[in-house]
Amino acid sequence: MGIGTYLALASVLFGIGAAGFLARRNMLIQLMSIELMLNAVNVLLLAFNRAYPGNHDGQVFAFFVIAVAAAEAAVGLAILIAYYRIKKTLDTDDATLLKY
């Protein structure tokens, strides 16, 4: 398989994630969509690393992405919980206290 296939896969994953982020109203699912997008990035990084065998930058990068994604999820979930405590919902349509 050439690099184009990976590229396509990553793009599709990324697209699905983005579409999920835009389409779903539940914040938790939006968070998961973002994770999906990050994973698309990982795929891409790893695939590209194959094209440049001189170093391992891509793979290293992917590790970092995974780690940071975890941290991000932790903070994110904490915020979502705090939000849920107040509003008793995670629907984004209700999160319109701040507008205009």
Binding site: G54, V60, F61, F64, I79, I86
Partner: protein, 493 residues
């Protein structure tokens, strides 16, 4: 040792952050934390300032500089971010106590967010950009959500978090594509490949688009600005202050490093075919949108949020001028962000000062008549908004003058961008003046509460400092101009 010297502001912050965590764990007396935090941030700024003024920066080993630049630009942003964060911490010292939700972690968060911002500002590798960005963002998310019982604060945090992560994902995808196109993650390497025309054009362009989108998000440029008003309004005012200065400054730094550093060759930058027209249009839209939308606000805080969008537009004007005006334009951006930092702190700080326990000043109505009753408290507010508005002799005026000067020097369509910019800022005059109108020329409605300024030495000190620099940078700006110029020349010969 010399490498440590170059990075000493960062290291200092890490140490201070850890120390404050410890102190916080073992003491119940919180009020001095603000002082300690601010002091360490100011020391950081002073260190950076000393090095910048000294003029010779010790060379650092490659192992460091591959990821973090040790250069004048980095030091410049160290100063800006540290000053912004330090002043915000002082404001927080007054604000949190007055409104009764002071906790130690706030100061820790602010220090580490500032640290992340400084890392971001020095990042010269896609990886360190990502790490710095996330360090900063995670801190910022937490800061916005700090007042966790407030629905507005948490809602702001949720929006900021979701959109921020989304933008980060886009940025990351762009980074990966760029890596794929060039085989490098370090900006210098990328530049080499791109300038030689060896990079895959399709991937490079896609990557450029996504990087611009991701970074423009942090800067708060239209159309990636939507989170700004909500997050700014939801957050506690000192947090808003910090976000509008420190976080934005770091984003501007990385935007400069990526666009001017990595994509700084004439082809990528070109007036017709490169990123310049994109930034130019974005600048126009941002200036116009920010100013017009700010016009419609009834809340001063939200108005300042929109105005910070508008100011992002002015910054982009300077950036768009780089293709012709070179380091002049870069240094104009730097000066602008510095001036904006002190002015904005002054404005937000004054807003904080205008409220007291139970009556936080947020909307214009909250300010009605305050200037008549407490002229000395209103005075810094006047200077702050005048500086944001760009009236001489304030820092804001010099900043605005500088970016528009860069735009006009660049010539061609940039002159018209400058014209649009000044017209937009004339629109801006209306809502800034509205602050003065409410302070001095209106009385509160019958049933409205009367604003009573808080009494806080922290806030006062912060305002005095900010006010001093606003005037100093407006009246005798030479030294800061030199700093900005040398920082700019470290980026672009």
């Amino acid at each position: 040792m010399s490498a440590l010297m170059g990075l000493s502001p960062l290291l200092l912050l890490v140490a201070a952050g850890l120390a404050i965590m410890l102190v916080d764990a073992f003491t119940s007396e919180r009020s001095e934390l603000a002082l300690v935090t601010a002091a360490s941030l100011f020391v950081g700024a002073a260190l950076a300032g000393a090095m910048l003024a000294g003029g010779d920066i010790a060379p650092a080993p490659d192992v460091v500089t591959r990821y973090l630049a040790v250069d004048e630009l980095g030091l410049f942003f160290d100063i800006v971010i540290c000053v912004g964060a330090g002043l915000s911490a002082l404001l927080a010292g007054g604000y949190l106590r007055e409104h009764g939700f002071e906790r130690g972690e706030f100061y820790v968060l602010i220090i580490f967010t500032a640290f992340g911002a400084m890392v971001l500002a020095r990042a010269v590798d896609l990886l360190s950009i990502f790490l710095g960005l996330e360090t900063m963002s995670l801190g910022a998310y937490a800061l916005v959500a700090y007042r966790r019982t407030s629905a507005r604060a948490v809602e702001g945090a949720v929006k900021y978090f979701l959109l921020g992560s989304f933008a980060a994902a886009i940025l990351l995808f762009g980074s990966a594509l760029l890596y794929g196109a060039t085989g490098h993650t370090d900006l210098a390497g990328i530049r080499e490949v791109v300038a030689a025309g060896e990079a895959d054009a399709t991937l490079t362009i896609l990557a450029l688009v996504m990087l611009i989108a991701g970074l423009a998000f942090k800067v708060g440029a239209v159309p990636f600005h939507m989170w700004v008003p909500d997050a700014y309004e939801g957050a506690a005012t000192p947090v808003t202050t910090f976000m509008s200065v420190g976080v934005k400054a770091a984003a501007v730094a990385v935007l400069l490093r990526v666009l001017v550093g990595a994509f700084g060759d004439p082809v990528s930058m070109g007036l017709y075919t490169g990123w310049t027209p994109v930034i130019m249009l974005m600048a126009i839209v941002t200036m116009v949108y920010g100013n017009l939308a700010a016009l419609a606000q009834t809340s001063v805080k939200r108005m300042l949020a929109y105005s910070s969008i508008a100011h992002a537009g002015y910054i982009l004007v300077g950036l768009a001028a780089v293709h012709e005006a070179g380091s002049f334009a870069v240094s104009s951006v730097l000066y602008y962000i510095a001036a904006y930092t002190v002015s904005n702190v002054l404005a937000f700080g004054s807003l904080i000062l205008m409220g007291s326990k139970g009556k936080e000043a947020v909307s214009y109505d909250d300010l009605a008549g305050a200037g008549r009753r407490h002229p000395m408290a209103a005075f810094p507010f006047v200077i702050g908004v005048l500086s944001l508005l760009g009236m001489p002799p304030t820092a804001g005026f010099f900043g605005k003058y500088y970016v528009f000067s860069a735009a006009v020097s660049a010539g061609g369509p940039m002159i018209w961008v400058a014209v649009i910019g000044v017209l937009a800022s004339a629109v801006g005059a209306y809502y800034y003046l509205k602050v003065i109108v409410y302070l001095f020329m209106r009385e509160p409605e019958e049933d409205q509460p009367i604003a009573v300024p808080m009494q806080s030495i922290y806030v006062t000190v912060a305002l005095v400092l900010a006010g001093y620099y606003v005037l100093k940078m407006g009246i005798t700006p030479s030294r800061y101009l030199d700093w900005a110029a040398s920082a700019a020349s470290s980026l672009i010969g």
